[in-house]
C-alpha cells in the first residue's frame, strides 16, 4: 500500500500528489521557459551539424563522466567525487521515477512494491546512499575547511549539499520505517533492514512507525520537488545545461575563431549581452562555478583582475538581470540608460586585455565553456567599434597595418629580409614555383635572438635535403596578433593577402617554426579559402630522424626541461614529437615541469600580449613560468615557439638566473646534435 493511495482528511493522496507535482512542475517550467527565451536573445550560430558525432561526444562526457574525470590530477581529485555523485544520484533519480512516480503517483505500487526487484534496487540504493553521503562529507570538508583556491564557500553549494544529504537520509529512514511498520524481518536492503530491526528493538509500535513512514515519504517527495524547482534557479542549472552544452561543443580544431559575420555591419563584436551567440549564453548556464578556470588562468595566478570564472558568472548574472526586460521588448531608450554597460561594468577592460588566449580555462572546463571567444568578441567591439585599446595594442596594430608586422621599432635594427643574408636560400620572386615553403614568421625574421633559430632551421632543412623556398622580405605577418587583439578586419586582409601569395607560388606545404603561425595558417586560413598542408617543424624533425634523413647523435649531457607552447600543445595536440626528439638526443631523462602538456602554463606572450603591455599584478606571467623551470633543476629550458623563447629569455634575465638556466629553441638543440659531415 503506497502512501499516495491513502486519504488524508477526506482528500485523496493522489490529488495531493498531483497538485504538489503540478505546482512544482509549473514553477520549474516557468523558469526553464524563461531561460530558453533568454537564450534566444543571442545571435544565430549553427551548431546542429554532425548530429551523430555530437550525440556520441555528449554521451561519452556524460555517462562515463569523462567531463570531470578528465580533470583529475594528483592535486585535484574532486572529479572522482563528482563522478561517484553523478552515478549514484542517477540511480536515485531513476528510483524516484519508478518508486515515487510510477508506484506512487500512478498507483502501480502492486507491481513494484514488495517485489524482489524493489529489494534488489533498494539494496543498490543503500550502497549508493553510503557512497553519496561519504562523498558529500568529503566535498563539504574540501569546500568549507580545506578550500582549494578554485572553490568559494558559497551558500548555493551548501544548500545543494544539504538537499542531497537529506534525500539520502530520508531514503534510508523511509526504508527502515516502512520495514519496521510492516514487521518484516529481512536482511536486505542492508540499511533499511538494520534500521527496522533497531526501531523494533527500541520499542516503537507498528502504528508509530507507520505514521513515521507516511511523514517521511511525503517529506521526501516535497524535497525532490523542491530540488526540481531549485535547480534551474541556482548554479546547479549546470545539471541541465551542461549536457546540452556537451552536445553543442565545438568540433574540429581547438581555439579557431569565427570570422565576423557579414551580417554585422554597424557594430562589431559584443557590447551588449545579446551580441553573443545563443551558444555563448548556453555556456553561461552551464557553468557550475567549479573554478578550475580560475585556478589555472595565468592572468589570475599572477594577480591580474581577470578570472575566467568571474567573467562567466558576471555575464550570467547580467543576462538574468536584464534579459527579462529585453524579452519584454522594453528596449526603449529610457530603460537602456538604466542598463549597465556590459564592457566596463560587467566585464572590465582590464579583464578583457589581460587574457593571453592560452586556453588553460577551456582545457580544464568540464562543461565545455568557450571563454576565449567571448573575450575576443569583447575585444572586437572595443577595437573595431569603439577604437578603445591599450596604447601598446594600438602601436602593434598600427605597425601591422603600415609595415605588415607587429614589431614596432624592430625594423630600425634589421629589415625583414636581412636574416637570409649569406645562407644561399631560394628566396621566392615572381614566377617561381616551389612545393614547400619555410614560413619564418615576424619574430623569427626580425628579432635577433629568434633569427638565430630561423637560420638554424634553414641549415637543418638543407642538411636533410629538403627543397624549400622562403619569402624573404616579401613575407608579412600571418595576422594572428591582430585577430587575437580583436582587429578581425586587419587579420582578414592579411590572411587573404597571404593566401594569394601562397597560391601564386603554387605552394602545397608550409613548414612553420612559430606555433601561432602554424595554428593560424593550418586551422584558420581554410575559412578564407586557403587549404594548405601545414607542418610544424617539431613534427617534421621527428619524421626526419625516424626516417634516418637527419643523422643525430645521442649524448648531450644536459639536463633539459621542455615548455609546451600553448598553440602547439593545447591548441594542436603536439606534445609527443618535441619530447621524443629531445629524448633521442639527451643522455638523461627529460625533466618535466609540474605544469606540462595539456596543463602547461602560458609564457605570457599569446593573444597579442607579446606586444600589449602586461597589466600590473603580483608578478609577470613569464617570471612565474621561469620559476616552474627552475624548480625542475634543469640547466636548459627548451621550447618550440618564438614568443616563448623571448618570454623565457626575458624572465630568466629578470630573475637573475642567467648563469643557471638557458632558454633555447628545440631547433638549436637538434642542430647541435646533428652528426658532423
Amino acid at each position: 500500500m503506497s502512501p499516495v493511495s491513502i486519504t488524508y482528511g477526506g482528500i485523496s493522496g493522489y490529488i495531493i500528489f498531483w497538485i504538489l507535482f503540478a505546482i512544482a512542475f509549473s514553477l520549474f517550467f516557468r523558469r526553464a521557459y524563461l531561460l530558453f527565451r533568454l537564450l534566444r536573445l543571442g545571435k544565430k550560430e549553427n551548431r546542429f551539424d554532425h548530429v551523430g558525432q555530437r550525440i556520441k561526444a555528449m554521451l561519452v562526457e556524460l555517462i562515463p563522466q569523462w567531463c570531470t574525470l578528465k580533470t583529475v590530477t594528483r592535486k585535484d581529485r574532486a572529479g572522482i567525487g563528482h563522478a561517484l555523485l553523478f552515478w549514484c544520484f542517477s540511480l536515485f533519480l531513476i528510483s524516484y521515477i519508478i518508486f515515487i512516480g510510477l508506484a506512487g503517483g500512478l498507483g502501480l505500487s502492486s507491481w513494484i512494491e514488495r517485489t524482489p526487484f524493489e529489494t534488489a534496487y533498494f539494496s543498490i540504493l543503500d550502497i549508493a546512499a553510503v557512497i553519496v553521503i561519504l562523498t558529500l562529507i568529503v566535498a563539504a570538508i574540501r569546500r568549507y575547511i580545506i578550500r582549494p583556491q578554485r572553490l568559494e564557500p558559497s551558500l548555493e553549494a551548501g544548500i545543494i549539499l544539504i538537499l542531497v544529504f537529506s534525500l539520502m537520509a530520508l531514503h534510508v529512514l523511509g526504508e527502515g520505517l516502512d520495514y519496521a511498520s510492516r514487521d518484516v524481518s529481512a536482511s536486505w536492503p542492508p540499511l533499511g533492514a538494520t534500521l527496522a530491526k533497531f526501531l523494533k528493538e527500541s520499542g516503537f509500535s507498528a502504528k508509530a512507525t507507520e505514521s513515521g513512514y507516511l511523514g517521511v515519504w511525503w517529506l521526501h517527495y516535497l524535497i525532490i520537488l523542491g530540488f526540481m524547482v531549485y535547480i534551474p534557479r541556482s548554479k546547479h542549472l549546470h545539471i541541465l545545461a551542461s549536457s546540452v552544452n556537451a552536445f553543442f561543443k565545438p568540433l574540429g580544431p581547438k581555439g579557431v575563431l569565427k570570422p565576423i559575420s557579414p551580417e554585422e555591419t554597424e557594430t562589431f563584436g559584443a557590447s551588449r549581452i545579446q551580441d553573443f551567440t545563443w551558444k555563448d549564453l548556453l555556456d553561461l548556464y552551464s557553468c557550475a562555478v567549479c573554478g578550475r578556470c580560475h585556478a589555472n588562468c595565468p592572468a589570475q595566478l599572477t594577480g591580474k583582475s581577470l578570472s575566467p570564472r568571474e567573467v562567466i558568472r558576471n555575464l550570467k548574472e547580467h543576462l538574468l538581470e536584464i534579459g527579462p526586460e529585453l524579452i519584454g521588448g522594453k528596449q526603449d531608450s529610457s530603460s537602456e540608460i538604466k542598463m549597465k554597460t556590459m564592457i566596463g561594468e560587467v566585464v572590465t577592460e582590464e579583464e578583457i586585455w589581460a587574457c593571453t588566449t592560452c586556453g588553460a580555462c577551456q582545457e580544464l572546463c568540464p562543461v565545455n565553456i568557450e571563454h576565449i571567444r567571448k573575450i575576443i568578441e569583447l575585444r572586437r567591439n572595443l577595437v573595431l567599434s569603439q577604437s578603445r585599446m591599450p596604447e601598446s595594442a594600438q602601436l602593434m596594430l598600427r605597425n601591422m597595418q603600415m609595415r605588415g608586422h607587429p614589431w614596432a621599432g624592430a625594423q630600425s635594427l634589421r629589415l625583414r629580409g636581412d636574416w637570409t643574408a649569406g645562407l644561399e636560400l631560394k628566396v621566392l620572386s615572381e614566377g617561381d614555383r616551389v612545393g614547400t615553403l619555410l614560413w619564418i614568421g615576424c619574430t623569427g625574421a626580425l628579432i635577433e635572438r629568434n633569427v638565430k633559430v630561423s637560420q638554424a632551421m634553414t641549415r637543418l632543412l638543407k642538411r636533410a635535403g629538403i627543397d624549400f623556398g622562403v619569402l624573404g622580405d616579401a613575407e608579412t605577418c600571418c595576422g594572428d596578433p591582430a585577430r587575437r587583439a580583436g582587429n578581425e578586419f586587419q587579420f582578414q586582409i592579411m590572411a587573404e593577402q597571404n593566401i594569394e601569395i601562397f597560391k601564386s607560388y603554387e605552394i602545397k606545404e608550409i613548414i612553420t617554426t612559430c606555433p601561432h603561425c602554424y595554428h593560424t595558417i593550418k586551422n584558420e586560413y581554410p575559412a578564407f579559402g586557403g587549404e594548405f598542408k601545414v607542418v610544424h617543424y617539431t613534427q617534421l624533425i621527428a619524421n626526419l630522424i625516424k626516417d634516418k634523413k637527419l643523422g643525430i647523435s645521442k649524448g648531450l649531457n644536459s639536463k633539459l626541461t621542455y615548455h609546451d607552447p600553448c598553440y602547439l600543445g593545447r591548441y594542436n595536440g603536439i606534445f609527443k614529437e618535441p619530447r621524443w626528439i629531445l629524448q633521442s638526443i639527451i643522455n638523461k631523462d627529460l625533466e618535466e615541469m609540474e605544469r606540462s602538456k595539456s596543463e602547461s602554463f602560458c609564457c605570457g606572450g599569446g593573444g597579442g600580449l607579446m606586444w600589449i603591455e602586461e597589466q600590473p599584478g603580483t608578478t609577470k606571467i613569464n617570471q612565474m613560468r621561469v620559476e616552474d623551470a627552475i624548480k625542475t633543476g634543469a640547466d636548459t629550458v627548451v621550447t618550440a615557439c618564438p614568443y616563448c623563447l623571448q618570454m623565457f629569455e626575458d624572465g630568466i634575465e629578470h630573475k637573475g638566473m642567467k648563469d643557471f638556466l638557458r632558454a633555447r629553441d628545440l631547433v638549436e638543440i637538434v642542430e647541435e646534435a646533428m652528426v658532423k659531415e
Binding site: L384, L397, S412, D473, F489, Q492
Partner: protein, 264 residues
Amino acid sequence: MNIIVCVKQVPDPEIPPAKFKIDTETKKVIPPPGVPPVISVYDERAVEAACRLKDKHKGKITVISIGSEKAIEVVRHAISMGADEGFVLQDEPFENLDSFGTAYVLGKAIQKIGNYDLILCGRQAADWGAGQVGSILAEILGLPLVTFAFDIQLEDKRFKVKRILKDGYEVVEVPMPALMTVSSEIGLPRLPAGMGLMLARRKQIPIWKAKDIGADPTQLDKTKAHTEITEIFIPKRETHCELITGATPADAAANLALKLIKLI
C-alpha cells in the same frame, strides 16, 4: 564641410640609416628594397585633423598624393582612417619635383576637385622636412594660411585655430576657405579599424596624369626648378656611452642631473 588633405609617401622612418644608399651621380637617396613606403607622419596627423572635423560637423574628406603606384596604399590608409575619396597623381613629369613643382601639381588637382572649405597639409614631410609645400600652395590658391595648427575649431563659418609656437601657442581666426599645415601636437592619429579597413580596401583610387589636371609641362621643367641639391650624404652618427654611477640611486640621479645641466 569639404576638406582636401594632401599626403605624401615617404620611406619608412623605421629603416635604419645604414640601409639607405646614396646615388652620388643623380644625388638621390635609394631606400632599401622590399620596405614599402608609409604615410608621412605629419600628413597622417593632417588626416586625423580632417577626421576630427568630420566627426563633429559632417562633410567629405578627399585625399590626394603625388607619387608612385605605391602612393595608392598611403591614400588607402587615409581612407581607412575616415577619408571618403582619394586620388593619386602619378606621371613622369611629376617625379622628383621640388616644393614649388609639388605645390603647382597639388594646386592643379585641388582646382580640379574644386568646392573646398579647408585644405590640410602636414607641417613638413617626414623625409625631406622642407615644410614649404603648404605655404606655396596657399599662395597659388590665394588662400589664408595657418601653419603648425594643432587644434582646429569651426565657429560660424570661421576657423579658430591654435598654432604651436616654440614656447606655447597662439589662437588665430581665419575665414573659410583656408589652408592649414598640421603639427604633431594634435596627438596620435586614430587607428583605422572596423569597416574603415574593409571599405578602404575595396575603394577605387583613380590615378590622374598631367593632362587630367591640366598641368602645364613647362611649369614642371626640372631645369627651371627653384631648388638645387648640391650635396647629399648620410650623416655620421657617433654614440658615446658613459655609465653614471653613485653610491646610492639618489646620488646616481644627482650625478646624472649635473651631467645634463652641463650639456644644456
